[in-house]
Amino acid sequence: MSDVYVVGVDMTKFTKAGSTRSVSELGARAALMALDDAGLKIQQMEALYCGNLGQAAAMVGQRVLQEIGQTGIPVVNVSNACATGATAFREAWMAIKAGVYDVCLAVGVEVMGKGLLGGGGGGGGIPKEGLLGSGTMPAVFAEAGMEHTRKYGTTFEQFAKVSVKNHHHSTLNPKAMYQIETPLEVVMNAEMIAYPNTKLMCSVNVDGAAAAVLCSEKKAKELGLMKRAVRVRASALASDPWQERDLVMPDVNTCTRLAAKKAYEMAGCGPEDIHLVELHDCFATAEILHYENLGLCKDGEAGRMIDTGEVALGGRVPVNVSGGLLSKGHPLGATGIANIYEICTHLRGEAEKRQVQGARMGMTHVIGLGSACAIHILEKTS
């Protein structure tokens, strides 16, 4: 089977939650940007895979086409928690891999509300939040981080350093929601949301969209698009395998490890071959876990990774050079494709001030609770 390539990819600048006119207008903007990046037209797309969570039942993909060109192509609307965008991308990849289409468009888009996510509870009776513990995302990921503390003694300060790093990275990314340095004491003294996550250790709710044009090798050559094309070396998706505590404590670790194993096998490479990573730092506590889950270091070494700067721009394996979800922002359904945009930009050598020098291979990772983990390994072609 021949390889699949990203031939066009872009993202909107992420903006304040609720600042956008409509989901379809925002998705359409990203779609046109990706088409322009490839130099292609909507009429050349053979299928659209559209990821969105907030209006998952409202045919967002079709509404995007109603803004930019109703060509009658098949549209699949995708909803898969925070792995939504990456899953839409993967569906496009699979369709091309299977030989059904040669050129597909994948869009991820989200218009967000403000405030805490999760913890809505469910069922009848009385509200359970604050009665049966917390289901809010900051608390859920605080608990996941405390599991690392329990095993390896990871400290509040080490978790906080993740936010210092990612906020610093975002000062170099004009498309990030924020470009503000946040020194360690500022992060640690920010309002405590759910210990050990302070407000600056929680991802930002933003509006945003990202899109990618995927293409078969044959078609990419035919269209003369190989020069800036990025090869998809692996696309892996996993659901959560049974774990003792997983009905109470969503297990982001096992699910990520399973997807990572599949991705490395498919790409025929190991973590040592990866030059940069965009991973799911929905909370500062989560990023620490994924250094180990993705094999960037051995189990128990994640604290060292953040202490020594191995994961900062200029380090051994820079993580979240875009600013990550913590500072670039986290428009749920768009995040999976925005990550792919970031990696492609580095592999193309177009990341300007935040460019990871000599980047040839990069990895994207997202995990949605419930759970769904998607990992892509991308490679420079020229």
């Binding site: 009385i126 009665l131 049966l132 900051p138 608990e143 049974w242």
Partner: protein, 142 residues
């Protein structure tokens, strides 16, 4: 319809309030692989066995696995409080509020022994005015 004598309801369906005897938590145990689940189910998601569940009474003793101290929640929810994940002796993991402990990281030890206690659900009532009984965790008495 105010009925002061009305019996309080359990906050979740796996909290049992027998007419005689103390409240308790009920889990579901797989007859094939012994995995313990909370809440009603027919099949086992660990081993895939069908119609394999039997009710099992869960222990009131356990160990604090992890926690978070919640300082920001939804309007009307009193903060701070401790959200705790507890492994019960003999199987079953539950999330709940850890009470009777100062909500600071220095005072809460990962792995500390805790016990399950049953009390009124923080005064919360449903639309019909029913009271509820909830479960909580507290540091185990030495």
């Amino acid at each position: 319809m105010a009925d002061a004598a009305k019996k309080p309801l359990p906050v979740v369906d796996f909290l049992k309030l027998p007419d005689i005897g103390a409240p308790y938590l009920e889990g579901q145990k797989c007859k094939k692989c012994s995995a313990v689940f909370i809440g009603p189910r027919a099949h086992c998601s660990k081993c895939g066995a069908r119609d394999s569940m039997e009710a099992t009474r869960l222990s009131n003793q356990g160990q604090l696995y992890v926690f978070s101290i919640v300082h920001r929640s939804f309007p009307g929810v009193e903060v701070p409080y401790v959200s705790a994940v507890v492994d019960l002796e003999g199987g079953g993991t539950l999330k709940g509020n850890l009470i009777n402990v100062e909500p600071t990281p220095e005072k809460i030890k990962l792995g500390m022994p805790v016990e399950v206690v049953y009390k009124d659900a923080l005064g919360r009532k449903d639309r019909e005015g029913n009271s509820y009984v909830s479960y909580f965790f507290q540091p185990a008495k030495a």
